[in-house]
Each structure stands twice: as structure tokens, then as C-alpha cells.
Amino acid sequence: MTKLNDYDKAVETYEPVLGLETHIELDTNTKMFCGCSTAFGAEPNTQTCPVCLALPGALPVANRAAIEATIKIGLALNCHIAEWTRFARKNYFYPDMPKNFQTSQYEEPLCENGYVDVVVDGKEYRVEIERVHLEEDTGKTLHVGGATGRIHGATESLVDYNRAGIPLVEIVTKPVPGTGALAPEVAKAYTAELRDIVRSLGVSDVRMEQGSLRCDVNLSLNLPGEEWGTRTETKNVNSLRSVERAVRYEVRRQSALLDAGERIFQETRHFQETTGETRAGRSKEEATDYRYFPEPDLAVMEPSREWVEELRATLPELPRKRRERLQAEWSLGDKEMQSVVNADAVDLIQATVDAGTTPSGAVKWWLGELSRRANESGEELAALAITPKQVAELQGMVDDGRLNDKLARQVIDGVLAGEGDPADVAAKRGLEVVSDTGALEAAVEEAIAANPAVADKIRGGTHAAAGVLIGAVMKATKGQADAGTVRQIILDKLS
């Protein structure tokens, strides 16, 4: 059983140093070194050719669109774009890697020395970028016949090379010290910011759940004033929430080991989505020697300064600028906007506003009821089974008086359960506000008859007493009446 320290106690004693490596699949039409399609979800091995299957004699040719996309990412991350850069071979055997080497970059990456600023708890942190380089993805191996889907116990291993050769950008930060107890939040904020930057560039769909953005989290601990500790590298961290959990877990695990006088091994660990733990993989000390050397099959790249400036001129409004603009447009305070950002709801709210609702209506649902539900189910907000368009429709029904907030929450239940759009759910579940005044008047008459003393009070001018009658009417209509309308009918009848 792994010993874990209490998190707060751990960060009182130790200072964490973060490091993040992010892989992003570019959404170019064709693969990195051949003309095969990159579309997701095709039949296995239908998007392959001699090059990406590494047939004898086949040669790679670099995809210019992928190089452009990588330069754009580098520029958006404030990097220097290399004047002279080349690919390198990373040699190791693995069946889903057709050449048994990955064409990557080694000592001469395309982009270097940038930074990303993120704000956590009102404080700005600068995460420095060491390098941004271009490489190719591997295929996927499927182990069949065993109970677990893992290689152990499998009777056959099947390989799908559709993904082999899809352009992959790797973004590596420099070590990030000084985040203290906020290390998990800074790691998450950086990943979210990186994702938003790349999305704004339109070069990847950066969907963590589809694997088009994948994170490795490095973490070490040291005592204040002492040298940085030995780091672990946690792979397979594939959601923003997991980034935060992985950092938190490693802080707790490593601090317990250090407290016990044990040493931290430099090793690769794997994040377990279900339990939130990290588990040891192979040790880096006995890791493969990749025998990097410059790729002789590909020409050296020398991006001209004119080309780089042309690409810089095409950069769109970046997320930070956009947030400042939206905050003003939505009339939100700093704290409220920070909550929106922390909830990863900027795009969702923007889309909801675009679908025709007011900013305040959109903020109310996404930060309120929907955030609460996402927390309950441990999902990302964006992963909830409700779209911004549906939220806009819901708020529209509230604005029209067809739903009140209580009914609206029941409609959300239905939408999340897959029963359809809000209007369909309301109709199927009979959740519309009763707007038939005849029916309401009858219910009011009944309430007056049942509560003569209250009716007298109202007649005497004590309008506050109307609440009792409203409650009775709401009860009779199972909450489907509009409280304002009911109040008006009562006052009309009793004055």
C-alpha cells in the first residue's frame, strides 16, 4: 500500500517543482511524411501507404502544413523560431511504430525559449517553454483474447497503422518552481491555456478525450533552500482534472517517501484515471538508449524570416486577449471571470451567448447548476451531455415564462438523460409552466375558498399574505405555475 501524506501538510514542508510535456496531434489533412488521410475513426489500416507502413524503400517527405502549424504554435508561445532545424531518428523497437524508429527532433527543435503566463488565485505565474518540436505519432496496438485487453494473457495482438505518421507537436516546459501549494492548479491552468492557444490557432482540435492532446507531468519536491529533488514523469494524464490530480497525488506520495527517509527514483509512472493514483512503469535508469542521430532521409529546414513573419501576421486573437474582451462584453468582475476560466467555461458561455441568450443567463447555468453536476459526476464541464445551444434554449424558455428555475432544473435532468432538447423534454415530462389563466383562476378560487382568513387579510391590504395562497396554488399545479402570474390573479381578485 502506497503511503500518502496529507496534501496541505506536504506543501507546508516541501516545495514542488513542476515540468510539463504536452503532445498535440495536428489536424492537417495528410500525415507528417506521406499523403495519407488523418481522419479519425476510419476502418483499421485503410489510411496507410508504403511510407507510413515503412515498406522497404519508402521515403518520407515533410508536410509543409505541419511545419507551418508548429511555427504558429511557437510564435503564439513567444518562442524563437530556429533559422536552421532538422529531424532526428529516435530508435527503439515497438510493433506499432512501423520503422522501429520515430522521426522526431533532437538537438535542433523548430521552436525554443518561449513562455505562457497563467493566473491562479489572482496571481500570475510565468511558465517558460524550453522547446516546441515536430514528430510523428505511432499506430495503435490492440491485444485481443485476454480478459483485460492488456498484452498479458492476450492470444493475438492487432496493429492499426491509421494513426502512424500523424503529425505530433511536443511542447516541453522548463522546470517551474515557486508554485507552492498551487502546483496542481498551475499545472492545470497551463494545460488549459496551452489547449486554448492551440485551439485558437485552428491547428488541432486539442480534444483530450480523443487523445489529440496528451500530457506527461514531471514533479519533484525539495526542502526550502535545498537543491531540486529527483523528478518522476507521469504519463497518460489525459484530462485537465487528471493533470491536477496527478500533481496532487505525486506531492502526497513523494513527500511521504521523503519523510520516511527514502529516495525518489527517477522513473516513468502511469496515471490511473479510475483511482487517481500514479503507478511505476519502467525505470528511466534502465531505459532504452534511443541512439538519436540526424534523419538522413529528410532535408534540413531553414525557415526564412519572411515566412516566419508572414505566419506571425496570420495569428488570431489569442485566448488571453479574448478573455479580456469577453469579460468587458459580458460585464463580469475579475473574480467572476476567474471563476469562468477556472471552470473551463469560456468557450461554453461564448457559444451559449452566440446561440442567442444573455451573458448573465449563460453564466448562471454553466457556473451554477451545470458546474455542480459536473463536480458530482467527476466530469469536465464540456463533457456534460448538454450543448451550449440547449442551454440557450433552456434560458430562452425561462425568459419567455414557459419555465421557472425549478422546472428548468428538471428539464436539465431530462436533457442529461438523453431525452432530447429542452422543449422536447418539457413536453414529454409535462414540465411547462401553466399559462392557461382559466385553470389558474380556478386554482386561485379554490385556494381562497380553502383559506378564508388569509383572503380577508389580503382584502385588508396585507399583500404579503398572498404568499400563502401562492404556495397553495403552486402545490395544486405541481410547481408548474408562474408565481408572478398567480400573485397578480390573487391581488386582482381580492382588491
Binding site: 508504403p50 524503400g57 530508435n91 510493433p95 522501429n100 524508429f101 538519436y292
Partner: protein, 499 residues
């Protein structure tokens, strides 16, 4: 001579174009020759009679229809088994690729097909083009038509022997350290390694990516030039291809054939004579007689110093195996070719190991081990890194030399064809065969080998090296040397005893 197989490719092309011979007649003559003597020589790993005759028939139909045809249309050709041919077995003479039928064509295969040249078959070679004798083929050795007790050179011994034994008028070779030129020299044929990047490597099974160059094998310089122009030129599928016009090698070969070299400055490398090892006396004698002829034609000799050439052999034997160790990693039994040990009792990793153990021969394994070592952590700077630095020095030596000379000449190889088994016991003795050819590969420029004479009754070659994209001068000098010979050396080979 009257036989079809005695004609040069240029003569055959003209005969076919002008209706004196049909391509089917020509192709059939070479197929019959293969049938008659290849049982002895064993130059071919695979003969495609049907495919060759089909192409020949197409050409004949085109001639009858009065269609415009390419310069070598209808002239049959043999292709080294390292070049990928769609639908035809391609093994690189390795067990690991036995039975593999490529689903695509190499660029040069496409160009041969577009030129309407019937492909006779695939020729034997040292496995993955690693060797200088063709003794390292997994499918048996090829014999030298001049003396069947001797090697035909390597790695392209099959292509050279096929042309020398008149089983094909032309062949494709590939040259990483001398694999076209050295077999040419020891079989009395012409062979050219073009400028690196001027001939596409797409579909050429890689040995050492930064060195491999496909090129022509023929009986004389003009035939070689005609084939050179068919296969050369920019290819967008090869990232290292040079996007520039092909040097005018046919015109240069014709100019050389007039026998005029006045004003041409030929460099003699000082270090070749006094450095790591001189050629054997018989080779030097034949070579020097040839040099005398070149001087008579008007060439001026200038001594050039290329001190880094002394390190060319060790440099090559770090760079080429390093690249090979990575290029050959793909042969793992997962996707194609041999698979060993897949019996449910071995792990994936074990199947890969067993496949490579069973599929690769001893020289290939030696070079994979050498290259893996040279690239490994802690050694890469001292070995691979240092070799790259020396490679730069070798390039600089060439560039400096070409400031004062038009071409550099040398013997092609230090010794005549050796006897089978003579050098397999000591890899270094085998590697010495490429002593004079390797610098050109490391530099990237062109080099040709042209027959210059005999030593102990065996052919000797003279090498002409040119500057990058200066292939034309190498053809001009070679053709000029041929013009001094009453008969082509290739025509004086002893008759081969049939099967």
C-alpha cells in the same frame, strides 16, 4: 559481330526504332542467353520472361504505329534486387525479405517502365548491398564471367556479371561505397555512381541513406549515359533529391568519344599512392597505361592533395553502419517478410529477435552491431559524431581539389577480382576493395569506372570522379579513354561454358 547480344544498347535502340530488329527479338535473345549461361554465372535471382516480352511487344506495336519512342525503348534491362519492382519479388538478397512482392514501384522502376524498357529480372547482390564480392548474398554467389573461380565484385555483382556475360545490355546498380564501380572494374564493364540526390532513392531499399545512389551499369560510357538520362532527375518523393537539370551526360559521352581531352585538367590524389595502401602492381601498370592514353588525348595531369582521404575508410565504416542499424530496424517480422518463432510460445519481443536472428546474414549482423555501437550513448560523439566531422573535411578536400582540376582519376579498386573465400575471413581485407571509391560517396559527387586494361588476364578499371552535379565530365573522360581502345574490353571476355 553478328549476334544481337553483342550489340551495345545504343545500337539496339536504333535497330528497334528503325525497324531492323523488333524488341521481342532483342528481348528473346537476351532471355535465351540467360537460359544458356546463367546456370553457370548465377547473376539473376528472378527472371521475368513474361513481363519482359509483354513490354517488348508493346514497343513493337508502338514502332509499327509510328509512335515517338524514348531513346532506349525496347532495350531490355536487368535490375539489382535492391530496387523495388511492383509485382516482382524484391529481396535485397536477404532471407528476411524472401517471398515479399512489393505493392509499389521505385521511382527509377517507374522511369524504366515509362521508357518502355523490358525488365529481364532482378540481379544478385551482397545482402542489403553490404559487401564487395556478392558472396554475402543469402541466395548463393555470382561468378565472374572472366574467371568463374573469382568474385564478380559487390555489392552489385549480379548486375555487373549480367552485363559482362551479355545476359543484359544494361543494368541498374546502386552505389553506397563502390557497389556499382568496383563490380564494373572487376568484370570489365562500365558503371557510374551519379551525384547523390540527382537520382531518386524512392523505392531503393535503404542501406545508408546519406550515401546510397542508384546508377547505370553498361558495356560502355555512351550506353551508361543513355540510361543515366532515363533514370535521373528531380523526384518530389525523395526529400534529398536535387531540383536541378540533369547534367548532359549523353552529349558529354559523345564529346569524349571524339578523343579530344585538350584543356581538361585531371587530378591525381597524392594520398592514394602513398597513404593507407597502394594498389597491386598489375593494377597500377594497367591504370598508368590508361593515364598515358589520356595525356595523349590532351589531358593535363595535376597532383592534388586530399589528406583526409586517409580516413575515408574508417569514416565510412562508422556512418554507413550507423544509418544501416536504423534503416534495417523495420525488418521485424511484424508487417512483411520472414517471421520466426510465432508459435504462441514466444513473446512479441522474442519473435522480433528470432526473426532478425534467422533472417539476417553474418555481414548484415556485423554492420548492425557496429552501427548500434557507434550511435550508443557515451560513444556517439567519439564515433558517429567524429565521422561526420571527417566527412566534412573530405568534402572540403574535394572542393579544394576541384578549384584546380576538372576531374580526379584513380584506379577504381586496388586489386583485380579475387578468388572466392579469399577475403571473407577478414572483413578489413574485404573493405579495402572500396578504398578508392568511398571518398566520392562521402562527398556526394559523381564517379564512374571504365575498363582500362587487364592484369593477370582480369579486367582493371579506371575511376573518374567529378564535382557535385558535374557528372558530364566523368562521362567525357571515360568515353575518351574508350576511344583509345581498338575493341571494347567488355567484348574481349572469354566465352562462357554453358549449363
Amino acid at each position: 559481330m553478328s549476334r544481337i547480344i553483342d550489340k551495345t544498347a545504343a545500337e539496339l535502340a536504333a535497330d528497334i526504332r528503325e525497324g531492323r530488329l523488333t524488341s521481342v527479338e532483342v528481348t528473346t535473345a537476351f532471355l535465351e542467353r540467360i537460359e544458356a549461361v546463367d546456370g553457370t554465372i548465377k547473376a539473376f535471382l528472378h527472371v521475368d520472361r513474361e513481363g519482359a516480352l509483354a513490354t517488348a511487344a508493346e514497343v513493337d506495336a508502338a514502332v509499327s504505329a509510328g509512335q515517338e519512342l524514348g531513346p532506349l525503348a525496347g532495350v531490355p534491362i536487368a535490375v539489382k534486387d535492391v530496387v523495388v519492382t511492383k509485382g516482382l519479388p524484391t529481396t535485397a538478397a536477404s532471407k528476411i525479405l524472401e517471398g515479399w512482392i512489393p505493392p509499389y514501384d521505385a521511382t527509377i522502376t517507374e522511369r524504366i517502365k515509362a521508357a518502355k524498357m523490358p525488365i529481364l529480372g532482378k540481379t544478385n547482390m551482397d545482402e542489403f548491398a553490404m559487401g564487395s564480392s556478392t558472396e554475402y548474398s543469402a541466395f548463393g554467389k555470382t561468378l565472374n564471367p572472366w574467371d568463374t573461380g573469382r568474385i564478380p565484385g559487390g555489392s552489385g555483382g549480379g548486375s555487373a556479371a549480367a552485363v559482362a556475360a551479355k545476359m543484359a545490355p544494361l543494368a541498374i546498380g546502386t552505389d553506397t561505397g563502390g557497389s556499382i564501380r568496383q563490380p564494373g572494374a572487376v568484370t570489365g564493364t562500365f558503371g557510374a555512381k551519379p551525384t547523390y540526390g540527382s537520382n531518386s532513392r524512392y523505392g531503393l531499399i535503404a542501406f545508408s541513406s546519406s550515401l546510397d545512389t542508384p546508377g547505370p551499369v553498361s558495356r560502355n560510357a555512351l550506353d551508361g549515359a543513355l540510361l543515366h538520362e532515363v533514370i535521373s532527375g528531380y523526384d518530389p518523393r525523395d526529400s534529398t533529391a536535387i531540383d536541378a537539370p540533369v547534367p548532359p551526360v549523353v552529349a558529354a559521352a559523345k564529346a569524349g568519344a571524339t578523343g579530344d581531352l585538350s584543356g581538361v585538367k585531371l587530378g591525381i590524389v597524392k594520398e592514394f599512392a602513398e597513404g593507407v595502401g597502394a594498389a597491386e602492381p598489375g593494377v597500377i601498370a594497367a591504370y598508368e597505361a590508361g593515364v598515358e592514353q589520356l595525356v595523349k588525348l590532351g589531358a593535363e595531369l595535376i597532383e592534388v592533395s586530399c589528406p583526409s582521404f586517409n580516413y575515408a575508410l574508417p569514416t565510412y565504416y562508422l556512418i554507413a553502419p550507423s544509418e544501416a542499424s536504423s534503416n534495417l530496424a523495420r525488418y521485424d517480422g511484424v508487417r512483411y517478410g520472414l517471421r520466426s518463432g510465432d508459435d504462441g510460445r514466444h513473446s512479441l519481443e522474442e519473435v522480433m529477435s528470432l526473426t532478425r536472428e534467422a533472417g539476417f546474414g553474418p555481414e548484415v549482423k556485423r554492420r548492425i552491431i557496429l552501427g548500434t555501437y557507434a550511435l550508443s550513448a557515451g560513444y556517439v560523439d567519439a564515433f558517429y559524431g567524429k565521422a561526420q566531422l571527417v566527412r566534412t573535411l573530405i568534402k572540403q578536400d574535394f572542393e579544394k581539389a576541384f578549384e584546380s582540376v576538372d576531374a580526379i582519376i584513380s584506379p577504381t579498386t586496388p586489386f583485380i577480382a579475387f578468388k572466392f573465400g579469399e577475403r571473407t575471413g577478414d572483413p578489413y581485407q574485404m573493405y579495402l576493395a572500396d578504398l578508392y571509391t568511398i571518398p566520392t560517396n562521402l562527398y556526394g559527387g559523381p564517379g564512374v569506372s571504365v575498363p582500362v586494361g587487364l592484369s593477370e588476364g582480369m579486367p582493371v578499371g579506371l575511376q573518374v570522379m567529378g564535382p557535385v552535379m558535374g557528372d558530364d565530365i566523368t562521362y567525357r573522360v571515360a568515353a575518351a579513354l574508350e576511344s583509345t581502345q581498338d575493341t571494347l574490353l567488355a567484348d574481349t571476355a572469354p566465352e562462357i561454358e554453358g549449363n
